[in-house]
Amino acid sequence: MRPNTIAIVGAAETTDLGKTPNISEITMHADAALNAMADCGLTPKDIDGVATAGRTPTEIAHYLGITPKWADGTAVGGCSFMLHVRHAAAAINEGLCSTVLITHGESGRSGVDRAPRRMAPTSLAGQFELPYGPMGPPTMFTIPVLRYMKEFGLTEEQLAMVAVVQREWAAKNPRATFKEPITVDDVLDSRMIAYPFRLLMCCLVTDGGGALILTSADRAKDFPTKPVYILGTGESVETPMISQMADFTTSRAFRVSGKKAFDEAGIAKEDVDHLMIYDAFAHLPIFGLEDLGFVGRGEAGAFISERNTVEGAKLPLNTNGGGLSYMHSGMYGMYALQESVRQMRGIAPAQVPDAKISVAHGVGGMFGASGTIIMSNEAP
């Protein structure tokens, strides 16, 4: 996309996060959407484009009373919303629609009206992975890590530090699920889930949702909110099977998506003031930092454990506490985007002073897909 032509004018999460068995999944989409519309003074009649994942855009448009001229149901897992932002930007620039609503809602913890997901026994994953006993992401997303540890000498202590520093960020966030400080020992003493991964290296499971509203940068000036401009976007997909990821020490989808976003934005890594990397597990920020090019191969574990991503350090990372401590409904990408928007608006609970450029980088499936959005708060 062309930088600075599109802005995020509305952004909000669901009124409640965490455990909300009183509302179903589709109402979480709607609650977040209504909050985002209220944020920027719109009603459903003002929306002419809808994108969502988990549910269909048909369900969301009907439920909210929207008549879209454009719909996007791209569903590649937790980073789908990054792809929606990218596709919406292109659609608005092409004149397909003018005001796009992107919604997420997921009853990840309570399971109220949760969309079923089962891998068919005829699918390639059903035939060549499921018979070997993986039980969801904690036992699959984590499989590459021992190879990475052997290749680069990453230690369990360094993995634990990822959780420790993110808990420090979470402590500053009133909406974070876990705020109590933790130590490396706490992480390494927590229950073994799937060696080498312990409980505190794995994300939360919560309920929640979020929504974004995008329009052209020209129109953005007429909204009551501070516009957050889209500088660059990237996306890619690699494989639906973790066993078939080409290289267990680096994600091709991350590299392709990240490079495209930075190329579009025309900025250097040093220009980035704030960074979100989807952290379903403790190794994700490590892969993300390297594959986006913020540090060299094999350097991210030390970079994080040497406290380069904490408050006041050179690269504030996952400032809401991340999927490890803030919340994780299942498709966390929306919350990474929301925190980037808050940072660009200057209203984040742990605000990075004078932050002008933020990067939100997401993963979908298990290194299966990726989306990268670069935002700025400086008017073009």
């Binding site: 039980m135 060696y195 080498p196």
Partner: protein
């Protein structure tokens, strides 16, 4: 016959040769007739060059341990702890599997250790390729 309760594969026309091979004690891969690329999982064309001219051949069954996790809670058909592993076949492709005939511990499961295929019948139709430490 062991471990009832595992989710079992349901072969499709494109993968039937693999499961027929497993039943017969043979690990079958595919090779492109045009570019010689060896690949897995099965499909009726080459994912490297797009050629539809491909052949099935028996692999050596030799592999090395590429990566794994040790799961500490057992689903039906498993006994915890058990390793969910990815092995690298001598011919190049990688596949998910379980490692048998050895303790399911980090000490016993060293990356890059030599392995060999060991088929385990789940029922009359399906045998799963598992791997065990290679002899000598």
């Amino acid at each position: 016959m062991a471990e009832p309760g595992r989710p079992l594969p349901q072969p499709t026309p494109e993968t039937q040769h693999f499961w027929d091979g497993a039943k017969a004690g043979e690990l079958r891969l595919q090779r492109c007739d045009d570019c010689a690329h060896v690949y897995f999982p099965p499909r009726p064309f080459c994912p490297e060059c797009g050629s539809r001219s491909v052949s099935v051949f028996p692999a050596s069954g030799r592999a090395t341990l590429y990566s794994y996790v040790i799961h500490h809670r057992a689903p039906p058909g498993f006994e915890a702890p058990y390793a969910i592993a990815v092995v690298e076949l001598e011919e190049g492709p990688r596949m998910m599997t379980n490692i048998v005939d050895t303790p399911q511990t980090p000490e016993a499961l060293q990356l890059d250790m030599a392995l060999e295929v060991a088929f385990e019948a789940m029922n009359d139709e399906i045998s799963l390729p598992l791997f065990r430490p290679a002899e000598g």
